[in-house]
């Protein structure tokens, strides 16, 4: 059953689907960045994926393109899932927002933006979600210094402790 979705997409978007694999029934498609909105709308409206279960970012630092956004979709009606990946280059870290398709993507995209600095074009309100306002930088990027701390108040000196 689930094999059908993969084939359906490959047939419908031959240029947009860069790579696919299917391991243990876990289907994954790597989709071109420019085509993501189109592919996602097709998946929601014609393949029955009514739920975006998760959206996350990945930083593959030495590789190029550097970033990746991963979408997990689930169809409750048909009982299957699919995983969509988009590679995002470091020079222009932006993807089209899928909030217009799934409203639930709103906070996922804000989280991904504040931790990886990936901008979601067309997002209604792309503000940081979890970190405090004065935080600078993107802490889940691999080149964020491991020991760097951004304290909000003056810390006590060792001798006063």
């Amino acid at each position: 059953m689930s094999e059908l979705v993969l084939n359906k997409l490959k047939a419908r978007f031959p240029e947009a689907v860069l790579e696919t694999h299917n391991q243990f029934g876990n289907e994954t498609l790597v989709v071109k960045r420019e085509a993501i909105l189109e592919v996602m709308r097709f998946l929601k409206e014609e393949c029955g994926f009514e739920s975006l279960m998760d959206l996350s970012g990945v930083d593959h630092l030495p590789e190029s393109p550097r970033f990746e956004v991963v979408y997990h979709l689930k169809s409750f009606k048909n009982g299957y899932r699919v995983r969509i990946k988009v590679r995002v280059p470091e020079e222009e870290p932006s993807v089209d927002s899928v909030v217009s398709i799934w409203k639930g993507a709103n906070w996922y995209e804000r989280e991904c933006y504040e931790f990886y600095g990936i901008k979601f074009q067309g997002h209604p309100d792309l503000r940081p979600l979890l970190l405090y306002p004065e935080f600078e930088g993107y802490p889940l990027r691999k080149d964020y210094p491991h020991k760097k701390r951004q304290a909000r108040i003056a810390l006590l000196k060792p001798e006063t402790r």
């Binding site: 405090y132 802490p139 491991h146 006590l156």
Partner: protein
Amino acid sequence: MGLEARLKPGGWVTTKLEFFVNWARKYSLFQYPFVTACCGMEYMSVMCAHYDLARFGAEFTRFTPRQSDLLMVVGTINHKVAPVLRKVYEQMTEPKWVVSFGACASTGGFYDNYAVVQGIDKIIPVDIYIPGCPPRPEMVLDALVKLQEKIQKERFIDRL
């Protein structure tokens, strides 16, 4: 204690003021639990009937820092919440003591990353550290007894 039985009507005892006040303080610690993480479950078990911190005179939990003497910092403290913890500490009235409950509060635990304060002693002074992830309830009881010993030895002049 049997003391009242030995005293005749109208009798009297002598003591040192410091000793007497410290004795009263150490057996009536009002706590403020600042619970942020999973150690909170251990804190609940230590407060409940099996281990029962009330046996040591620290049964009364106050949910405002202004009415409490013992700040229990239970769980991971992030840089985001650090100003809140400092304000809670500042709102407590003297005399006041702080217990750092568990590995995360004491040192940051295994969270050596951008978000977590590496030990609450970078924000507020701490009297007793309890190690463990999470600590056993017996360790909390032991910490309280050690804190009571510390309170008993305090001198008024040190708090000026």
